[in-house]
């Protein structure tokens, strides 16, 4: 699904899920993170890249991420990493997402009693 490029919250709750998931693997700065999202979704999710920062800052304010200034490739960057609270949130959100995705998939496949919803 390709979403509107300029939509900051391109899918409700999905940016947070992707950000937490990718940052759990390793800390990254904003540009790196956007590239990682692009690669991991094969460019399916497009959004205004500048809108990633307000989300990062909000997650940091919620203590799900921590930020520190580091020198990366000779340049000073704000690098984000996941806190233990963020890891717990990711576990809960991922479980919820899988449950919803499975339910939607089941419905699209016709479900237990239903018919195929989409041709």
């Amino acid at each position: 699904m390709t979403t509107k490029r300029t939509n900051p919250d391109f899918l409700n709750g999905v940016p947070e899920l992707l950000i937490l998931s990718l940052l759990t693997r390793r800390p990254m700065y904003g540009y790196e993170l956007v590239q990682a999202i692009r690669r991991s979704t094969d460019g399916t999710l497009e959004f205004g890249e500048g809108c990633i920062y307000p989300i990062l800052h909000r997650l940091e304010a919620d203590k799900l991420l921590r930020a520190s200034r580091e020198t990366v490739g000779g340049r000073s960057r704000v690098v984000y990493g996941v806190t233990s609270r963020g890891e717990k949130r990711l576990a809960g959100s991922a479980a919820g997402w899988r449950k919803i995705a499975a339910a939607v998939e089941q419905t699209l496949q016709g479900g237990e009693h239903g018919e195929a919803a989409l041709a």
Binding site: C51, H57, D62
Partner: protein, 238 residues
Amino acid sequence: MAKRPWLEAIGRRLLAGGLPPAYIRRLTNELADHFDDLTEDVMSKDAEVVSRLGEADQVADAAIAAYERRTFFGRHPSAKFLVFGVSPMVAMFLVFVSACLGIVAVGAIFERCGVCLSGKGCLGGVDPAFLGWGFSVITTIVPAALLTFFYCRIAGQSAIGKKWMSASCIMVAFVAMLPFHRILLSEVPGKSIWTIGLGVPPSLLQCVQLSIPLAVGLWFVCRGGKRSLPEERLPTAA
């Protein structure tokens, strides 16, 4: 080069949206880094970089929305109306009544201590109009200025924007404008009369009562757009 005007447009919009300058500085620094990265890694045309990052208004709106969600008033929008639309009027009225009762209490204490206050002779021929101004300062002007300061500070710290900041000032100013004092000093101790009323059209004193909180509010609103941007503070990795 499009980078500078793009960042300045974001900064201006965020300042107008009431976001703290330190946060604006941090966000624009990160966006500037991102802009440079995109220019170096992928493309050379600024217009394409801006297209990838998002238009200034869209990025700023996303930042304002995300920042508001961090605050109590952002998560509870209806509380804005109660706190900045209704409570300033109630608070101003209660403070006014409390200040009047305070004056009465202080007067009662002085009289019990044998200090003559209520007779005309005791006050040494003080002009009642002057007393009215004094009471107005104590019960209305100073409390209104302090209340306006209080509400503007909360509005500023909550980053809810100048609209609600202005609304709270106007509410305080409106209630502060209404009270007036009439004082009749009697030759006979205990027979002087202090009348408190609420009404319009405003006298000169009531215009002063109206203008002081408005001036405080205006100062806050103007100050919000002219603050300098302090440096961000982030921990540095060892």
